[in-house]
């Protein structure tokens, strides 16, 4: 991958993946909302061998700015080989249960803003007639669960949206990859107890990198989540509502 745009580049998982691209001498556009963090990640990627690193400050919730980002990346690099979508928030499920505003704010970031961006990214790649769209979803989107369904529902929306995009862009030579990490040790989960199913951000980032350059359409990270989630999807709803599954 030569020209890579990372939407949500201050994510720990995305940055770990970016380090792999930098090591190959890629050209990178990093987009996220905090300029200091962007600068810190950009310097790291430069040291690691990126041919060129640009940064773009954006709050993805402000959807009109997304068009500016894509236009800037296209103009600066003369096209894009990979767009990696990584931003997201893990809302406080309990707080959301008592607040429409919190529920919709999380929905805005994880679903609405993401779908807006995917729509624009798809137009760009379709026009280019080449490139890859890799999106970090989550195992949480595979089944609504008691303790994180606000988050999981948004990821499920993204998954379905990507399924459609994949079918549509296939003819244009554009690849669409859905990446579903399991619990990962990042700032997003800093407050959580780390059970044995957690993996490091480096490991997850490495798997994201490999997924983005690989040929699988839907990638679980790590792969052992695929059978686990298959089993969880098969649990009848009547039983599921009494289980309290958490990782």
């Amino acid at each position: 991958m030569k020209r890579v745009l990372i939407a949500g580049a201050t994510s720990a998982i995305a940055h770990a993946a970016a380090r792999r691209f930098a090591g190959e001498g890629a050209t990178l556009m990093l987009a996220a909302r905090d300029p200091d963090r962007l600068a810190a990640n950009a310097a790291d990627l430069c040291v690691l061998g990126a041919a060129r690193v640009e940064t773009f400050v954006i709050d993805f919730d402000e959807t009109p700015r997304q068009a500016e980002l894509l236009a800037a990346a296209e103009a600066d690099f003369g096209g894009l080989d990979l767009i990696l979508v990584a931003w997201g928030v893990l809302p406080d499920q309990a707080a959301c249960e008592g607040s429409v505003a919190l529920t919709l704010a999380a929905w805005q970031t994880n679903a609405t803003a993401t779908i807006a961006f995917l729509t624009r990214a798809a137009m760009l790649l379709e026009r280019q007639r080449q490139g890859t769209l890799a999106v970090i979803s989550s195992v949480a989107g595979d089944r609504g669960r008691r303790d994180n369904y606000v988050y999981g529902a948004a990821k499920a929306a993204i998954d379905a949206f990507l399924q459609g995009l994949r079918a549509r862009l296939h003819g244009a030579g554009v690849r669409v990859i859905t990446i579903k990490p399991g619990p990962t040790d990042t700032p997003m989960t800093a407050h959580r107890r780390k059970g044995p199913l957690f993996v490091s951000a480096e490991r997850a980032g490495d798997l994201v990198y490999r997924a983005a350059i690989g040929s699988r359409e839907v990638v679980y990270a790590p792969a052992w989540w695929r059978p686990i989630m298959l089993a969880i999807r098969l649990i009848p709803e009547g039983l599921m509502k009494r289980l309290n599954l958490s990782a």
Partner: protein, 439 residues
């Protein structure tokens, strides 16, 4: 929270909280309610200097970004959680090397500074701290202080070898050393006693950048202190060793079991035996096999089981014909537990650190399984030998020395204590100072 243990897995400590540090520009706020705080790197310290029972550990490992690398001048700036392994991957292909490296690459820059680590080239290079040009230190009051020999000089000197007690190092600027290639030309020299080990080391100091060796901790009587000195230099690209093409000596210490003591004994004997065969004395090794033989086995420390193990490292004068060191070996040998001993003759290059451990003399590092009071009694006995000859014990390896032993070995400890951050402490520090309020 079992992730946060020390390498010897003794003692154990239950921390109240773990606070990860993710961004150097936006470090965590240190709420007084969660004090005392202690930074944690990769937990490669053996005893309790990286533990903080009932306190909060600040996990510095996510601070793992590079900041700048000047491949012309050999200067690297990076966050404090960056590991030596990551640094090596970056710099070795570009012809640079850390001026000082310990025997594992799975340590962080912050940990290397806080223990002011030393390597096989101490006689030439001194300690890690000599190559730390400056760093940024986060104090619990939220101040971020740039520390160098010219700026906040006292904190700079206190933080190098400061056991993590002066604050959280956020990033550091390091000097590197140019190397001709990634390999090491090495020679193994058989030594019949500790005195011979010292003599051969001193005589190699002029010719060899790296000198250190293995000493047989079990042999007694006439064989007491026999060992093998390894000496080496960075090989030029053509890999020729002083004009001679080296024979392919398979280093026994690249075998996984070398560290695991019963096997280690065999490996030692194998090496000792091989060294007697003249033609197999010289070898060319990758830098990994030479510097980090144990790193090929992750978690080898767990082989000691749940009770963990102790490492005991001292430095004692050797101008008495290595008498003190021999007495130590004799006493520990009697436990039949000191299977393996690493030795090195330190040079006299000073460190900027107030509490730095290395000083001229012979250092011995000895692994002992934690199998009960006998081992502790033996260590108390050898502590007394160290004290008598004016030596010191390495806090990075310590889990049990007495406060008085520490204070005798580190006379500047009071001056150091004034630089400690009021909200920082560690299990080690409480153990070593509980009997006396620092003035």
């Amino acid at each position: 929270m079992s992730r946060y243990e020390s390498w010897g897995r003794y003692p154990r400590a239950q921390q109240r909280r773990v606070l990860p540090a993710f961004w150097r520009g936006d470090p965590p706020a240190l709420d007084p309610a969660d004090a005392p705080y202690l930074p944690y790197g990769l937990g490669r310290s053996y005893g309790d200097c990286c533990l903080n029972a009932d306190g909060t550990l600040i996990d510095a490992r996510p601070l793992s970004r590079f900041i700048a690398f000047d491949a012309q001048a050999g200067r690297l700036t990076c966050e404090a959680g960056v590991s030596l392994a990551e640094i090596l991957n970056l710099i070795v292909p570009r012809g640079w090397f850390p001026p000082v490296t310990p025997g594992t690459k799975f340590i962080t820059v912050g940990g290397a500074i806080a223990n002011d680590v030393h390597g096989k080239n101490h006689h030439r290079a001194g300690t890690f701290g000599r190559y730390v040009r400056r760093f940024e230190l986060l104090r619990s009051d939220g101040r971020r202080l740039l520390c160098s020999p010219d700026e906040n000089a006292e904190l700079y000197a206190a933080t190098i070898g400061g056991l993590g007690l002066t604050g959280l190092i956020l990033w550091a600027e390091l000097e590197l050393k140019p190397i001709p290639g990634p390999q090491i030309e090495l020679e193994a020299v058989r030594c019949r006693s500790l005195a011979e080990f010292v003599d051969r080391s001193l005589e190699s100091d002029a010719s060899d950048e790296y000198t250190a060796g293995w000493i047989d901790g079990l042999s007694r009587g006439g064989r007491l202190g026999r060992g093998v000195l390894l000496r080496g230099n960075h090989a030029r690209g053509d890999g020729r060793w002083r004009g001679v093409k080296p024979s392919p000596l398979r280093l026994p210490f690249d075998a996984p079991g070398f560290a695991l003591n019963p096997l280690g004994v065999e490996a030692f004997n194998a090496l000792y035996y091989r060294v007697q065969q003249r033609k197999e004395r010289r070898a060319l090794a990758g830098y990994g096999a030479f510097f980090y033989p144990l790193d090929v086995v992750h978690n080898w420390n767990r082989a000691y089981g749940r009770r963990g193990f102790l490492q005991w490292q001292c430095v004692v004068p050797h101008d008495d014909g290595a008498r003190a060191a021999s007495a130590i070996l004799e006493r520990l040998g009697a436990t039949r537990r000191a299977w393996f001993v690493v030795g090195k003759v330190f040079g006299d290059l000073p460190s900027p650190g107030m509490l730095s451990f290395p000083r001229p003399g012979l250092t011995l590092a000895i692994d002992l399984p934690n199998d009960g009071p006998r081992v502790f009694e033996a260590l108390d006995a050898v502590d007394r030998i160290v004290l008598e000859v004016g030596g010191a014990l390495y806090p990075a390896k310590d889990a049990r020395m007495a406060p008085a032993t520490f204070r005798a070995g580190f006379p500047r400890w009071r001056e150091f204590a004034r630089q400690i951050d009021p909200a920082f402490s560690s299990s080690l520090w409480r153990r070593l100072t509980h009997d006396e309020a620092p003035a």
